[in-house]
């Protein structure tokens, strides 16, 4: 039976000049005991719909029309009445467990206050109920943990506390807004299992808002796809993911990196520019031609890095081994993937290779020279030129006060001060075109670009010194899937034509499978195994790799 009914819901933001529709005439129905997935890319209005149900839209936005019927109650009758259903009938979970709990109140205080707001219980009863709830969401030692502050819980545990808070007054509808996006894959699967279990046990209606198609495939019963405030398609998860009707859904599904096979390129349905192949050749002319020899470009030997907790204590028990005795090689022209969960030391290795960190012990050889032992600055510069890095966050890795052309010119003039202005400009234009940006972009500032375009600028900047090794640290994890597909295609093309060697760091196994020839798996600073991509996915050698593969959300699971 239909439990939640959203009719013609519209949310608009009244701006000075115009009205922006964050959601327009959305119709959604959810049944009890069912998980409805709400997917879309950033700006699609999926979170807006979730927040609009309980009328929690940030100023100046407001629900301009439509009704929300919960059971037989019209909860949007007036803006005041909704307040009493919050927490009581409807629970909400937010994306980031680090920020959704009040840091200076204990978990218990927050639970008791919420319970006492809605249920007529004494403090003692509320406490007992809270402890049972904490147990139900899988927190051990609930009696003692009850008095802990949020910062004493790890990310996954904190999300469990958030869930217990959302469920503490027995709501019938749960809205989960990207509940696992900030979590590691192993924690993610635990939290999703918990949500599935609670849905069944409590006969909840659940709206799961996410951008991750794998999560949808594994958890949702039905899916609603949104794009720029409009509902594109709604239906059975299997039907939507396997036989999408609308073009947008088709392109969204095809941009998701498959987990079960390696494809040569991502299919971009929406726009296909035919002449970009020619553009790429432009910077090829400037590239010093390298004969491909089958040899190692990077050799990493017994690399370790420890961060001392305390400057004054020298005892080793206080130091955290971020990287612990790691050795591997990267062949010239190869894509090498490093995967691992947060804290596994993958970014630390990247930073040591580009010489931003000094290793505690061990050596890094680049083209048979040990770069960790170089003392002179000018000697090091020769290697810095050949190793470039692309960072995760395209918003903070570009200097907002510089024009794009100055951003790209900086590494060029640093390594080749004698370059003439005309040469420099032409080179910048060529670089921009090779990352599929127009020449006009050169005179603009980074904030005028979208996330994907900024990441293209980062790539152009990295290519400016004609590097042999490109270190990509989670280059697409801040981007939407369709943009991710474009950037990954671009990196593949560039690598092929320029014979780049790529060290690709990611937590996202499907992406790594598409990008890399060989993969190294890291756990707690130690390298578990290194093997060819297909071998790793088909016959994983290490227990941890098997675990990761098992837990990774698979869009293909829908076929089972």
């Amino acid at each position: 039976m239909t439990f939640l009914k959203i009719n013609n819901l519209s949310v608009d933001y009244q701006m000075r000049k115009e009205t922006v529709y964050a959601a327009k005439n959305v119709n959604i129905e959810v049944n009890k005991g069912e998980i409805l997935g709400l997917v879309g890319e950033s700006g699609s209005g999926k979170s807006t719909v979730g927040n609009a149900i309980i009328n929690l839209i940030d100023e100046p936005g407001k629900v301009s029309s439509g009704s929300v019927i919960l059971g037989d109650l019209n909860i949007h009758e007036n803006s005041e009445s909704i307040v009493k259903y919050r927490g009581n009938k409807i629970g909400l979970i937010f994306q980031d467990p680090q920020t959704s709990l009040n840091p200076i109140l204990t978990v218990g205080e927050q639970l008791i206050e919420t319970i006492q707001t809605h249920l007529k219980l004494s403090k003692e009863e509320a406490k007992n109920k809270s402890i049972n709830l904490l147990k139900e969401v899988g927190i051990k030692d609930a009696e003692t943990r009850f008095d802990n502050y949020p910062h004493q819980f790890s990310g996954g545990m904190r999300q469990r506390v958030v869930i217990s808070l959302a469920l503490c007054c027995e709501p019938e509808l749960l809205i989960a807004d990207e509940p696992t996006t900030a979590l590691d894959v192993s924690i993610q699967s635990q939290i999703l299992e918990l949500i599935k279990k609670l849905t069944k046990e409590r006969n909840l209606a659940v709206i799961l808002i996410t951008h991750d198609m794998g999560v949808i495939a594994e958890t949702a019963d039905r899916v609603a796809v949104m794009k720029s405030g409009n509902l594109v398609e709604i239906g059975d998860t299997k039907k939507i993911l396997t036989k999408p009707q609308e073009n947008y859904t088709k392109s969204l599904v095809s941009s998701v990196p498959p987990t079960n096979k390696k494809i040569s390129r991502f299919v971009i349905v929406e726009k296909e520019n035919s002449d970009k192949k020619e553009n790429n050749i432009k910077i090829l002319n400037r590239w010093t031609k390298k004969v491909i020899i089958d040899q190692d470009l990077v050799q990493i030997k017994n690399l370790s890095k420890s961060f001392d907790d305390n400057f004054f204590t020298e005892s080793s028990k206080n130091s955290v081994m971020a990287v612990n005795d790691v050795s591997f090689d990267i062949k010239e022209g190869e894509s090498f993937g490093l995967v691992g969960e947060s804290g596994s030391g993958k970014s630390t290795i990247a930073k040591m290779i580009v010489n931003l960190f000094k290793p505690t012990s061990g050596d890094i050889f680049f083209d048979k020279v040990c770069i960790t032992k170089i003392k002179q600055r000018f000697e090091l510069m020769k290697f810095r030129k050949q190793i470039q890095m692309i960072f995760q966050d395209p918003y903070s890795s570009l200097n907002g006060r510089l024009k794009v052309k100055d951003i790209i010119a900086e590494p060029i003039t640093l390594h080749k001060p004698s370059i003439s202005n005309i040469d420099l400009n032409n080179y910048i234009y060529d670089l921009l075109e090779s990352v599929e940006l127009t020449q006009k972009s050169a005179d603009r500032y980074p904030h005028e670009f979208s996330g994907g375009q900024r990441q293209r600028i980062s790539i152009a900047r990295a290519l400016a010194t004609q590097p042999r090794l490109l270190v990509c640290d989670e280059p697409t994890s801040a981007l939407d899937v369709s943009i991710q597909a474009q950037i990954l295609n671009l990196l593949k093309d560039l690598q092929e034509q320029l014979n780049l060697t790529i060290l690709f760091i990611s937590h996202d196994l499907p992406v790594v499978r598409q990008m890399c020839d060989r993969i190294g798996v890291l756990k707690d600073g130690k390298l578990c195994e290194v093997s060819k991509t297909e071998d790793l996915f088909l016959k994983p050698g290490h227990e941890y790799t098997r675990e990761l593969l098992r837990l990774m959300p698979k869009i293909e699971s829908i076929y089972k």
Binding site: L56, F94, N102, P103, I104, E113, Q152, A166
Partner: protein, 291 residues
């Protein structure tokens, strides 16, 4: 210390007894040794031990500073919370406009304006002095007499104005920022009442930076009190200091400065402890990763 008719021999003798003929490093180490014992010598002007003078003047300044700090903290926080929650509205705009005046007008101008308004035109409050004081033996207080209470109003308000406006703006900015955070949004989503959200969840978090600033500011209040005490002829340490500067009375000046430095260090120490008590994130840094 010496008059017109003092003979050269007497002057030389005095220099000798005061130790002014010794080399600088000897004088300085003697100063350090004595200062550590709380002895700052004898005032050149008043011919009395400096420590005695300081103790005598201390109550006036402490009472003034404590009252000002309370005014600044309480009104500042209240108005800051009000303007932070009701961002639009006549009263908020008015408070912010006035607070701008408080930040930009120098203390002595405000003091003189107050004297003109309340003492000269309205004639309801005294323009100078501490009024009648009661001697408790170790402490002289103006709190126990009507004239003493009346006398402290103008100087303490004048002194607190700058700090108050500062705290208003700080609390307002903090409240506005915290009301936008995820945990406030999550509290709303759980149906927690607006009052609890504003005054329990948001305010508690918002006060953490206020404690740091307030601690530093109490030190500043003592330092600023020099001006206020001069304007209102308040018989405190600041007034003593200004007089000492005019007479180049070095023992008083050095004692005063050492005292101020000591107060600053103590206040910061207390603030650090308070911080530790209030913010649980600092309290249990050691086992943050558990679970």
């Amino acid at each position: 210390m010496v008059g017109e008719e003092t003979s050269d021999e007497e002057r030389a003798e005095l220099r000798e007894t005061l130790g002014l003929m010794d080399p600088i490093h000897v004088q300085f180490s003697r100063f350090i040794v004595n200062a550590s014992k709380g002895e700052f010598g004898i005032s050149y002007q008043l011919r009395r031990p400096v420590s005695e003078l300081i103790v005598e003047r201390l109550p006036a300044t402490i009472e003034l500073v404590v009252i000002s700090a309370l005014i600044a903290l309480i009104t500042g926080t209240l108005l800051g919370v009000y303007t932070g929650i009701n961002r639009k509205g006549f009263l908020s705009d008015f408070v912010l406009a006035v607070s701008l005046l408080g930040v930009s007008l120098p203390t002595f101008v405000i003091g003189i304006l107050f004297i003109y308004l309340f003492a000269v035109i309205l004639g309801i409050l005294p323009s100078f002095g501490r009024g009648e004081v009661v001697d408790l033996g170790f402490w002289t207080t103006g709190f126990l007499t009507v004239s003493g209470l009346k006398a402290i109003i103008l100087p303490s308000v004048t002194l607190s104005l700058f700090q108050m406006t500062y705290i208003i703006r700080l609390v307002r900015a903090e409240m506005m920022e915290i009301l936008q955070t995820d945990y406030i949004k999550f509290a709303r989503a759980r149906g927690i009442s607006e009052n609890s959200i504003k005054y329990k969840h948001a305010l508690k978090n918002g006060l953490i930076p206020v404690i740091t600033i307030a601690g530093i500011n109490i030190g500043t209040l003592i330092a600023f009190s020099i001006i206020t005490e001069t304007v209102f002829q308040w018989p405190g340490m600041g007034f003593l200091f200004i007089q000492a500067v005019q007479f180049v009375d070095i023992p008083i000046m050095s004692a005063y400065l050492v005292f101020i430095a000591f107060v600053f260090v103590m206040i910061n120490f207390i603030v650090d402890i308070l911080y530790y008590l209030i913010d649980p994130r600092i309290r249990v840094k050691g086992d943050a990763a558990s679970g």
